[in-house]
């Protein structure tokens, strides 16, 4: 495979590096010699954190909530402080519209882009990179320019993912890049090439764009799954199937068997990066959240759980536990499936299926012994999980002795409701053991390295682009609403990517501004 061809985000080098490094010192030998007993596995601390579903569940179960104490009149309220809500606020502030408030139910902004920090490093709890935008993705480029990531037409080198970007543990050893190259046959490689050519054809149609609305036309591809499409196009390579399935799980939390072929192809065909990327930071997209928070903090109310939105004549009343906001316009940037639980006479919201996810941040007191240099993204072939990302990877200096790994696991297998139940019913020890077992495939000594595992469960982490969902009439209608209630979550696009969240947020901000008489 040519080293410069484009799959996933950016150029993936396919050349495997020979491991020409000296043998590691055989410490076990010395242990035997000295007569020390093998260090037993250490106790590992940790717990579930950021139980975002808890306040959310209170909403849905309509549990007892206090009556608000304070009345506030404000022209515009944004509900939800994830990337969509923040993007709406970003646009409003940039256009000089400052009569608005953003309400976030948690104590911290970010939504799926939230982040954490310990004495070693900041780390992501969810979305952790931005694919390098092509020249036509003007909106995301504008944001990156504002944040100093893009200057003079060049991306700041330090924010681009440093080499080595990705590696895959396959057949007992690490290879560079995620496309399997160890043990593949000429036939597999041939199919990789043909797959790449097919993607190039799709790219040329101009229908696969970011944001998706710009080029999308209803397509029969939405009626079959990505896996079906591969089979129909005579792609039989198990390695290619693994790779495509991995990408679907990674980006959508869904198996290729469940993912709409249109969405799957969009993932591969929509991006034309001009740089080897992606863009990433220790705290993942939390870095963007932090920068936006610095700029927009004065509009933000955190720990403001909106539990009801009612009509009051032409206006809307947005109720939190402490305050009743009366607003001319509300941008609903929270996940759209919450609308029926919150909004009086909400428009119908059906057919929204979400993927449950689990994210774990592992604090390592030392690195596992391994011959190769760790990459940013480290993936295991044939694992049900998605691998881990090294939070300290983007540091300019050497990797510190202690580090944090963010472990991602989309519960893609089976019906989302069942997977969600497993996610929420199992205790922390269950997931701890599962995560360590998974990591031990490549790092047999992982249990001796990890001091702490904090786990965050997200029952509805991202919309799932299942077969037949991409051109849903209902979603189109919600997105097009242009009254006092505007919807802005990325789930309206059918898949949750930062560019969709941003463009939905900005679009809603523009509508609100027009409605409220802002300058054009």
């Amino acid at each position: 495979m040519e080293p410069d061809h484009t799959l996933k985000w950016g150029r993936l080098s396919a050349c495997g590096r020979p491991s020409g490094r000296p043998l590691p010192r055989r410490r076990f030998l010395s242990a035997a010699l000295i007569g020390l007993c093998r260090k037993t596995d250490r106790p590992i601390a940790g717990s579930y954190v950021n139980e975002s579903d808890r306040p959310g569940h209170r909403l849905r179960s309509r549990g007892p909530l206090r009556a608000p104490l304070e009345e506030v009149r404000v022209p515009l309220v944004i509900v939800g402080g994830g990337m969509a809500g923040l993007s709406a606020a970003w646009r409003l502030e940039k256009r000089g519209f400052r009569d608005f408030l953003l309400l976030e139910m948690e104590d911290r902004l970010g939504g799926v882009s939230r982040w954490g920090e310990n004495d070693i490093t900041a780390f992501p709890w969810g979305a952790h990179y931005v694919p390098v935008p092509g020249p036509r993705s003007t909106l995301i480029r504008e944001l990156l320019e504002d944040l100093g990531v893009l200057a003079g037409g060049h991306f700041q080198e330090r924010f681009l993912c440093h080499s080595p970007q990705e590696r895959l543990f396959l057949h007992g050893r690490w290879q560079e890049g995620l496309e399997p190259v160890v043990g593949v046959t000429a036939r597999d490689r041939d199919q990789y090439r043909r797959f790449e050519e097919r993607l190039e054809q799709f790219r040329a149609t101009g229908q696969f764009t970011i944001p998706a609305d710009r080029g999308a036309r209803p397509s029969p591809l939405d009626r079959i799954s990505m896996a079906d499409w591969l089979r129909q196009a005579n792609f039989t390579s198990p390695y290619l199937h693994w790779y495509v399935n991995y990408c679907c799980r990674d980006d959508f939390g869904a198996l290729a068997e469940d993912t709409s072929a249109w969405a799957g192809i969009h993932y591969f065909a929509a991006r034309e990066p001009e740089e080897k990327g992606p863009l990433t930071w220790p705290e993942g997209n939390g870095w963007i959240v932090r920068r936006l928070e610095q700029r927009l903090g004065r509009f933000v109310r955190t720990s403001a759980l909106v539990h009801r939105i009612t009509r009051a004549g032409p206006r809307l009343r947005v109720l939190t536990e402490s305050t009743a906001y009366t607003a001319d316009t509300v941008i609903f940037a929270a996940p759209t499936f919450l609308a029926p639980y919150l909004i009086e006479d909400a428009p119908p919201v059906g057919g929204f299926e979400y993927s449950p996810w689990l994210t774990a941040n592992l604090t390592l007191d030392r690195w596992p012994r391994q011959a190769a240099e760790p990459a940013w993204d480290n993936v295991f072939y044939d694992s049900p999980a998605l691998g881990y990302v090294v939070a300290t990877h983007q540091q300019l200096g050497r990797q510190p002795e202690r580090t944090v790994w963010t472990f991602y696991w989309a519960l893609a297998q089976g019906a989302p409701a069942r997977a969600r139940k497993l996610l929420l019913d199992a205790d922390w020890n269950y997931w701890k053991a599962a995560i360590l077992d998974d990591l031990a495939r490549a790092h047999p000594d992982i249990r001796a390295c990890v001091a702490r595992i904090d786990i965050m469960r997200m029952g509805h982490a991202m919309i799932r682009p299942v077969v037949g969902s991409m051109f849903s009439e209902e979603r189109r209608r919600l997105a097009a609403l242009d009254g006092s209630l505007l919807f802005a979550n990325s789930d309206l696009s059918g898949f949750s990517i930062i560019e969709e969240a941003q463009s939905r947020g900005v679009e809603a901000a523009e509508r609100a501004r027009r409605r409220l008489g802002g300058r054009p």
Binding site: G20, P22, R27, S30, L160, H162, S163, P164, G397, E401
Partner: protein, 498 residues
Amino acid sequence: MTALIFISVFLIAACGLIYELVAGALASYLLGDSIFQFSTVIGGYLFAMGVGSWLSRFITRGLVARFVTIELMVGLLGGFSSSLLLLAFAYTPGFRLGLYLMVLAVGVLVGLEIPLLMRILRHRFELRDLVAHVLTFDYLGALGASLAFPMILVPKLGLARGALLFGIINAGVALWSTYLFRDQLPRPARLRASCLLVLAALGAGMAGAESISSLAEASLYADEVIFARSTNYQRIVLTKWKDDLRLFLSGHLQFSSRDEYRYHEALVHPGLAALPWARRVLILGGGDGLAAREVLRYPAIESVTLVDLDPEMTRLFSSHTLLTQLNAGALTAPRVRIVNADAFPWLEQAGGSFDFAVVDFPDPTNFTLGKLYTTAFYRMLARRLTARGAVAVQATSPLFARQSYWCIVETLKQAGFQVHPYHAYVPSFGEWGFVLASLTPYRPPDKLPAGLRFLTAAALPQLFHFPSDMGPVQVEANRLNDQVLVRYYEQEWSQITP
């Protein structure tokens, strides 16, 4: 008969001393500080011999059989001691513990030998003669061993095979004793079989010693290892052969004392001599203090800031006599300030600006080192320079790693520098490349400091000419997000090294 008995005493005494010397020498080579090593090894060994002598009182029956068995054990343990310790050093962190366990075990066994032998012989000689003769030959054996060890054994056989040879001698004495004292030995056949077995094992060890020691780190180096230490960041190994002192960091040669002046003069003077107004110099890497030594030749230089990651490295080169002689005490000079820090984050955070910088990092063998050769790194370095400042960068070999060399040139260029590539011949490295990168136009200096051994002002412009086999090639710049340099480097050096 009597003569043969005392030759045995001579030989086992020699063997005993050889094992002690082997342990002492190995410890000094591998751990450094030979006074401490020899002192503790000799002390421990003598103490263990005392323990052995005391233990001999508990052996009451079958003295000859016991003596033969002990000889065999000494032969085996002592003979393989050197090989085992070398392997322990290469593959375990427990070398020191292994060393002293070995010293104690061999010492106890050797301590048993002479008391047992004297008791075996007590009916054949007057006590007066016995003590006099046994001890005479014991000390003679020690003299023979102590002369043979440095003059024949180490130079001809090396430590591993030398120890094995004396193990064979021990086992030979055991076999011989089964004949000498056959009247006191009820069943000699079994003991003789054991002797042959041990001899065979040691003989096989002798034959295989080459491959055993090739497993051990010491044999990775052509010369005698005089210092080796694993720090948090790297493995520092110093080797010495006659007057040639060599430094290896994680297995890569950093300098040879016989020709390092060529490298360091070429690294520093073409740039610094052209900046007579320069006052403040930054050295990144170069914890050996050799670049600093060259910088200190300029009286006008007011301060030198040397940033090296590894405190062990700068400590070693500030304190070890052999090394401070080499760097002329540069690291303890009042004008030099040492900072032990990771250069990239240090550059980002440190204040101050510099007129001239020397970048002397190890070659880009991995992505961690490769970061120090990126456009991002050089841009950050440029911000630390004064308006007319310049940088000299060591840039691997333009002959053996042509793409790598020109990649570094291209990277500096894309980082905004004017680049002036040059090269010099350093025998222990081969043809070596440097890049002078400046913010304003550069002209080679007309005058160089006094006392240089390699460079002359007249010959300096020649360094900037590249013959066609090392001339520029089309390469990409090395960037944090696309470290092409590490790939070029690995590919190019793998073609010329096995």
